[in-house]
């Protein structure tokens, strides 16, 4: 596992984690849902991605995750142009990212513990090397007594916390969270935000897609505002 404590001073700090250059997306023959997106997400940065419902926040996150291909423009992740990367390189890039989906995307046939440990399991790591870490994270997000339960019996908030824990477990270079506090009470939302801030302080670039102004008002950071398919940046 990478030691983020030392990485703040390494040479890769200057390369943006994400860089978009005139990126546009259209579905089929329809109009462009996102157009002329030009922005960068710097290493160790923290930003909110906001905008009204249907503005394309999730599509933008999927562009970064490389699950949607842009119809035009240039995307580079961690300094790599993604237009011509191989499948192995794609996997390598995804392993540097943690993602919290709006609909959680937990695997219903795996327990909460197994879901959270999934990113480590797919990397072929031995369970003994990550067991304590997963349990600690689960306890921290308040799922210590839910770790053997299957997602269908968890509440919406518990599923969301499990999804967040799954994204954090690999201590990613870039965290993408789609409405990560949408289903939790304000006090837990504040705790989760603190967790994101601490993760960011240790070197992770964080992008939180939300339209919860009370959450955004707690932190004076950059806001990427989507509207009418275009991006406006509030520094």
């Amino acid at each position: 596992m990478r030691a983020y404590y030392d990485e703040e001073f390494d040479g890769s700090a200057g390369v943006p984690s994400v860089h978009f250059e005139n990126v546009g997306v259209r579905y089929g023959m329809g109009p462009e849902v996102l157009r002329d997106l030009t922005f960068s997400i710097e290493p160790h940065s923290f930003q909110f991605l906001t905008g009204p419902s249907g503005a394309g926040k999730t599509t933008l996150l999927r562009l970064i995750l490389l699950s949607v291909k842009p119809t035009r423009g240039l995307i580079s992740l961690f300094g790599e142009d993604v237009s011509r990367i191989s499948k192995d390189e794609l996997t390598g890039l995804r392993r540097r990212m943690g993602v919290v989906f709006q609909d959680f995307r937990l695997l219903d046939h795996l327990t909460t513990y197994e879901n959270v440990a999934l990113p480590l399991r797919v990397q072929g790591k031995d369970e003994s090397s990550y067991r304590a870490e997963v349990v600690e994270l689960l306890r921290w997000v308040g799922l210590g007594d839910r770790m053997h339960m299957l997602p269908p019996v968890l509440s919406g908030g518990e599923k969301q916390r499990a999804a967040i824990a799954r994204a954090l477990i690999v201590r990613p270079d870039l965290l993408l969270a789609d409405e990560p506090t949408g289903n939790v009470d304000p006090s837990l939302a504040r705790r989760l935000l603190r967790l994101f801030i601490e993760l960011n302080r240790l070197g992770t670039s964080v992008v939180i897609a939300t339209h919860d102004f009370s959450l955004m008002d707690q932190l004076n950071v950059r806001r990427l505002v989507l509207g009418d398919g275009r991006l406006h940046i509030d520094e």
Binding site: L118, S129, V135, L137, M147, R191, R194
Partner: protein, 326 residues
């Protein structure tokens, strides 16, 4: 790991519920499969594989039975040579028979030469002509049965020439035609058996392709999540392979077990028939209707082969599917 998640300590303002420090059990993972293929479709595939393995095992067992029996027939027939002496009114047949027996005994590789007496030769005709007939006026040929030494392949050329010279009217039949016909028949049956086994294996492979594609479509979201959390195509293909191999092994074990059980039951039934004419016929054709150790080994190998094919085909199908779907 002494400080697994340092950021948790810093971000944690209070002790959370369930934040106790009980010792952890050795494993918290149930090693649950990442791709759940044990659905109704999975069970149906296991049933199809069981049936196909059963058929393949029967074909292979049958072919092995015929191969073993035909080898037995051929060695028995090939170890026997017959001299036939047609009666000639100008010659004393008993002398000719005695001369032919002497000539046969002088041939290297011959273990025994036994002449059928006139009565014995006539008795051979009884099944066709009935008993109580007077054979005096019938020119019944006389037979000399020659048994060869084990593994001996003597050259009958000199014997044939001496017979032609000293015993006119004698013909030597070394059963080569029969052996070659039996051989052709047995090889045809074995070839057909192998062809059928191959067809069944191909059918099993095709069933696995359809089932894998169905499982991939049914687990699309699982596959997508696995990709997002950093699984590569090979990892996902391996997961499918492992699940399908287990499924295939379960199905093929049931099929092969059923085939072996059927063979055992048929063996017991034919043993109880042994005294009856029908049982004798069956035993004459197939031997004791029990497959040898080679037969059992072939059936077990087929079961393993089917399971292997199931695993490998599913892996290749997943790789193709993932490559085709970006």
């Amino acid at each position: 790991m002494s400080a697994p998640q340092p950021y948790l300590r810093k971000a944690s303002p209070q002790k959370t519920k369930g934040n106790d420090r009980r010792p952890l059990p050795a494993s918290l993972s149930r090693n649950a499969p990442l791709v759940p293929v044990d659905s109704a479709g999975g069970q149906a595939l296991a049933a199809v594989i069981a049936i196909l393995t059963f058929l393949a095992a029967l074909c292979a067992g049958g072919a092995e039975l015929v191969a073993a029996s035909s080898a037995q027939w051929r060695s028995e027939i090939a170890r026997e040579v017959t001299i036939q002496i047609r009666p000639n009114p100008k010659r004393a047949i008993d002398e000719d028979v005695a001369r032919a027996v002497t000539l046969a005994r002088q041939t290297p590789g011959v273990e025994q030469a036994q002449a059928f007496t006139k009565e014995e030769s006539e008795r051979l005709l009884e099944p066709w002509l009935g008993s109580g007939l007077d054979f005096k006026d019938l020119p019944v040929p006389r037979l000399i049965v020659i048994k060869l030494k084990e593994d001996a392949r003597p050259d009958f050329g000199p014997l044939r020439q001496s017979l032609q010279k000293d015993v006119p009217g004698a013909t030597l039949d070394d059963h080569a035609l029969w052996v070659s016909r039996l051989s052709t028949m047995a090889n045809t049956i074995i070839g057909t058996g192998i062809f059928l086994v191959t067809l069944v294996l191909v059918a099993a492979g095709l069933a696995v392709i359809f089932a894998t594609r169905g499982a991939m479509a049914g687990n699309k979201e699982v596959v997508e999540v696995l990709h997002f959390v950093g699984a590569n195509d090979d990892f996902i293909a391996r997961e499918f392979q492992r699940r399908f191999f287990k499924l295939g092994l379960r199905g093929s074990a049931v099929g092969a077990g059923a085939a072996l059980a059927l063979t055992t039951v048929l063996g017991l039934v034919t043993r109880s028939w042994r005294a009856s004419p029908a049982g004798d016929q069956i035993e004459a054709l197939f031997g004791a209707f029990s497959i040898s150790w080679t037969g059992y080994l072939v059936v077990v190998l087929i079961a393993l082969l089917v399971a292997l094919i199931t695993g490998i085909v599913s892996r290749l199908t997943v790789r193709r599917f993932l490559n085709g779907n970006g």
